[in-house]
Amino acid sequence: MIAAACAAAAGGLWYALNVWRFGNPVAPFVFGAKGTPLDGGVVRELMDNYGGGRGALNFFITPIRIVIASEMYGGRALIYNPLTYAGLAGLGFASARRRSAPLFFTAAVLYSGWYLTVQNARLLLPAAMLLAPAAADRLVPMMRRSRLVGVAATLALAVPMLLAPVVGLVRAGRYVSNPSTYLDRETEHHADIRWARARLASVFGDVAYFTIPAIGVEPLHQFELAAADLTPHDRFLAACRRQRITHLFAAQGEFDDVGSQLRVVYENPASRLGDVHFFRPAPSEATVIFEIH
């Protein structure tokens, strides 16, 4: 009772707000968000973009699939240490069950919720963390008994343990080496954004959404197009004109079929895509900004 009251006091605000706004404390999950386009079906479709299904058998093999087919669950950069699975062996020992009961229970609840909603491996980090003490209790005796297991487990821990400081130092080094170009190198289409901000914003007062992050947009600068207006491109440009859109950012070649209605004002043959790889060079694509006639 005390715990529930404290939990409600610390975190209840968000759920109460959603009951007030949408009649659903966990909006837009389960029942959607009333009054918005996010109904239950749309939300389910978004959630299905991740993972490998929700069958009963799949519930038990998904922890393995996360490791061997990580791209379905957000990619390798988002996986936790699979050695934590050794903690599940603790369920076979009464002493471990007694000692770690709240941890096992909470991990099971987190995993079940994750399995039924968004299967992004990153979101399982807290559940994996809760299995870690029980996993250590099972692994350390094995590491002591067998030198081979000891070396393998030590490597499996030391290498990813060193990854965190290496990532931190590399990131800091890249920034310190040339702070003025850091965002161009590390975020998506930043050079294009910089150009548009300098040229278009000075003329029109603001620049609206690219497909890229990092530009906050006031509601007055947003616009909405119906899905039916997206293709063909003639119809799309007509919709842009109706909305008083003057410029268009696109991949090179994407609007060749309506080239006569557009004037190229900016080209970037190698616009960087940021946050795709960390240790390898970022991929790039040719981009262009058109003025709509």
């Binding site: 005390i2 610390a10 992004n120």
Partner: protein
Amino acid sequence: MPRPRHRAAVPPAAEPPWTARITALIFICAAVACAGALAPVTDHDALSYVLPIARHIADAGALRVWSDQAPSMWPQGNQVLLAFVMKMGGDRLGALSAIEWLVAVGAISALARRVSERPEHVPVAIALAIAAPVAAFQVAAAKEDMLLLAATAAALFCLAGPRTAGEAAAAGLFAGIAAGVKYPGSRWPSWRGSRWPTAVTAAGTR
């Protein structure tokens, strides 16, 4: 008064000296990882919705659901902290998640000490919990994962301890913080999979 039932299995006197040294090395690794917070945030999800929502909160001084940010309808505990940092003039927002990361490592360490069978298992437990790509790349990402990790570890630390009213209250408090950071057990897609439609973008309005 409920009878205290401390489940700790780690008698301090039994701790071998190398345990402290390895634990110290893990904390050094964790601290060095924070160097990435020197740089501006570049994480795609953070730039797509975490920071824009925090900017909205900082500018408006209110909690709303903004039409350009559908994710603003779920718990925003971390974004409120980011908004506070923005309001104070801070521009190295990855430092917040780096601090949350250090708190998380401390909380995990305390939890491992409380529930591990033997003291020499503690550093291995900490390493198992945090030695992974997902942790390495989230340290300076300014996202909510590190705060969620810290609050979850702290709540379970209390739940696994003596059954006193104080521990129950603290467990509830930390569980509430975790719930205020992300929907517990039900998580949302990184916004990467649902970008805006094709090239409807760099547009000025006449």
